[in-house]
């Protein structure tokens, strides 16, 4: 399938390795990946922080860039959540019926990586090899906004060599929440410390998730504590092969 990669501005800038891994996995499965260079940011940070009028041009831009594709895939649950769940609200705010129509046309074609693989393509084994103790944190937007369910876990279970360890209170938010992590830094940190405790309790080497934003938060906390556990995006585990190891 001809798939457009929506990398997200955050991954583009901070986590290029996740983007590379996503391309690797999709191409390995025979998809033709395109990367429209005109893409920038979906507008989530602006929209969720309240700068919603400012987000509207970004919504228009996104729709324009990605409308021509059969499927749009992103390695981020929360950015896909923005497009699928909140773009209609942005279009209503813009009072633009045409934009609303376009958004509603586009939304069902936009997928988070794991749901694209498992739910859209019916694939769980992507030929990965990853001989590590790994625990999985289901990020809130993947879980509750996109309802990806166990798709990421199904993918992980099919990875050869992996030792998947269950995370206690996994469904609880890590405390990132976008600008929440800065505006309410104290509360965010209180939430993070419980998440870190549960991660450390698993004795895993790696904590993975489908969103680098949450992982940066969790990873930043682990690093500050010199905890000796690293965070790795799901796409990178899926991209990993026996040859590469």
């Amino acid at each position: 399938m001809r798939v457009a990669l929506f990398i997200t501005c955050f991954n583009d800038t901070f986590f290029p390795e996740t983007g590379r891994a996503t391309v690797e996995v999709l191409e390995r499965l025979g998809h033709e990946v395109e990367f429209p260079l005109a893409q920038t940011c979906c507008g989530q940070m602006h929209f969720n922080t309240g700068y919603q009028r400012e987000a509207i041009p970004l919504v228009r831009r996104f729709v324009e860039v990605f409308a021509p594709y059969e499927a749009v895939v992103a390695p981020s649950g929360s950015c896909v959540g923005m497009v699928r769940e909140l773009y209609p609200m942005a279009a209503e705010l813009a009072n633009d019926k045409r934009l609303l129509y376009e958004v509603e046309e586009l939304a069902p074609k936009v997928f988070e990586l794991s749901e694209f693989l498992v739910k859209r393509m019916g694939v769980t084994d992507v030929g990965a090899y990853y001989p590590h103790h790994v625990t999985y944190h289901p990020t809130c937007h993947s879980l509750r906004m996109l309802k990806v369910g166990d798709a990421p876990l199904e993918l992980l279970r099919a990875v050869r060599g992996i030792d998947l360890v269950e995370l206690r209170e996994a469904r609880e938010c890590c405390g990132f929440g976008g600008t929440f992590a800065v505006k309410n830094a104290d509360t965010s940190t209180a939430m993070l410390s419980d998440k870190l405790r549960h991660v450390l309790d698993t004795e895993a080497e790696v904590c993975t998730a489908g969103d680098n934003s949450c992982l940066m938060h969790i990873g930043g906390g682990l690093k500050r504590q010199r905890a000796g556990v690293r965070t790795v995006h799901l796409a990178e585990i899926l991209a990993s092969t026996e040859e590469a190891n």
Partner: protein, 496 residues
């Protein structure tokens, strides 16, 4: 335990209410509170999940509850008139109150007409909102809270921190000390059943003496005029049955269409709130039953607006009026679990409070305006809400209203606000590919004084909140798009 006495969102000096961030700092530092709350919310969360698990038709009940509430909000005028007619026909009196002041005047007037110096009250958040107790005190009338938790916080001179379990922040040892001091209960252990018995003895006398009872209402049926109070302890039955005069204060949004609609709400509410199949006691009364001598011989229903019509005017925000005050959203909220209710500075704490409070008191007050930001938008609240209020959606919507209010009404100060300036700049950068790519490079270069071994340990200015507890990943040498362009040769062709 810190005594929280900052003005709440519904007090006269609501403009001076601290922000959530300010109050949360205090609560988060209170280790006893954190323990008490963590234990309580985790217990009730697990119990609720089990109570819901048992119901194969739970999702269908939620949908029916949501739809019924939507029907009411869209046709509230008609349902209020029907309710007024039904209650009147059943021998009750209906009063309308535009605001807290008017409501208090009406209720005090009724108490005075019966020469009541004392009244007994069953938990009503609406009366906390209108500050009825303080008003009555000013009129020389003592209001006795009869719900155990309400009694505890009334005796402690505190305010509620949870919709359903107002004293969730206090543990048994703290309560024992309080009862010893205020009720003169000697030789009291800290066993919850001993503490409960002390309250029973103290309040029994009040119930028997009171001439006027005051209650809230969980629901009131437009079709029949039947009002309902859902409770556990029996103090609700006492207050609505024993005193010869009963006054019920209800927000105008509490009306439901028909008697049979209870079959939906009485399944949704108990399992969502106390995680029980059914709460111990529910009282339904229809006006007065003078001939049979059952219950009060005079019944007054006060319909309160106090900002609710303002909420109603917001098409997206109005779903907050569907709330049936179960408090499931508080119990699952990771923010509430850590800060407790006082950080919200409102009688309506937690996720529902974060969308209800700023709408009820109006956008433009720093304290209430900070509430929609008191959420990581994790969506746990929406998942459990028995009437499917999309709380995250309304939180985001209200953040937009708050921001636009600041931008449009804030004058020069609003426009010069550093966050506003930064967001505007970033929006401009994101709307142009060349600016965006330029900014990526500039940020990579600009971070060099801060970055060490791929991480940033300390950020300046407003962003310092991040690095107080977390390292920040430094921007790597190559962006994804640079890699892509290099890999695919042609910088301008987007395709592989």
């Amino acid at each position: 335990m810190t005594l929280q006495r900052s003005p709440d969102a519904f007090s006269a000096d609501a403009g001076k209410t601290p922000t959530f961030e300010q109050s949360a700092k205090v609560s988060l530092a209170d280790t006893q509170l954190r323990r008490n709350l963590g234990k309580a919310t985790q217990t009730i969360r697990a119990k609720r999940a089990a109570a819901v698990e048992e119901m194969p038709d739970w999702e269908r009940l939620r949908e029916a509850g949501r739809a019924l509430k939507e029907r009411v909000t869209r046709h509230l005028d008609e349902y209020l008139l029907r309710l007024e007619e039904s209650v009147t026909r059943a021998g009750g009196h209906v009063h309308w109150a535009r605001d807290a002041e008017e409501s208090n005047r009406i209720i005090a007037g009724i108490a005075k007409a019966h020469d009541a110096e004392e009244v007994v009250k069953v938990k009503s958040i609406a009366t906390d909102e209108t500050k009825l107790n303080e008003y009555l005190e000013g009129e020389g009338i003592t209001a006795h809270e009869t719900d155990l938790a309400e009694l505890i916080i009334q005796l402690a001179g505190e305010t509620s921190s949870h919709i359903l379990v107002p004293a969730i922040h206090k543990n048994r040892a703290e309560i024992r000390e309080l009862f010893k001091e205020k009720l003169g209960a000697r030789g009291l252990s800290d066993d919850p059943s001993d503490l409960t018995n002390a309250a029973r003895l103290y309040l029994r006398e009040k119930f028997l003496k009171a001439k006027v009872g005051i209650s809230g209402a969980n629901f009131a049926v437009a079709e029949t005029g039947t009002v309902c109070v859902v409770e556990s302890e029996g103090n609700g039955r006492m207050c609505t049955t024993l005193p010869p005069v009963l006054v019920t204060l209800m927000g105008i949004e509490k009306v439901i269409p028909a008697w049979r609609d209870y079959e939906v709400f009485m399944q949704l509410l108990p399992r969502s709130s106390t995680a029980e199949r059914m709460n111990p006691y529910t009282s339904f009364w229809t006006g007065v039953s003078r001939e049979s001598g059952d219950g009060p011989n005079e019944f007054h229903l006060v319909l309160l607006d106090n900002g609710r019509t303002g909420v109603l005017a917001d098409e997206r925000g109005r779903q907050a009026l569907s709330c049936i005050r179960c408090s499931a959203c508080l119990n699952v909220c990771p923010v509430y679990e850590r800060t407790g209710g006082h950080a919200y500075n409102s009688v309506y704490p937690g996720p529902i409070g974060a969308i209800l409070t700023p709408q009820l008191v109006g956008i433009g007050k720093p304290g209430p305006d900070s509430l929609p930001y008191a959420s990581s938008l994790c969506g746990a609240c929406y998942e459990v809400c028995p009437v499917k209020i999309n709380i995250p959606e309304v939180l985001i919507h209200l953040r937009g209203r708050v921001t636009r209010h600041k931008q449009d009404g804030g004058g020069l100060k609003g426009r010069l606000d550093p966050e506003n300036a930064a967001m505007k700049t970033m929006a401009r950068v994101f709307s142009d590919r060349k600016l965006y790519e330029g900014a990526q490079k500039a940020a990579r270069v600009g971070q060099w004084p801060l970055a060490r071994d791929g991480a940033i340990g300390r950020l300046p200015g407003r962003l310092a909140g991040w690095t107080e507890s977390r390292d920040l990943k430094a921007i790597p040498k190559q962006t994804f798009r640079e890699w892509w362009k290099a890999r695919n040769g042609s910088p301008e062709n987007g395709s592989a």
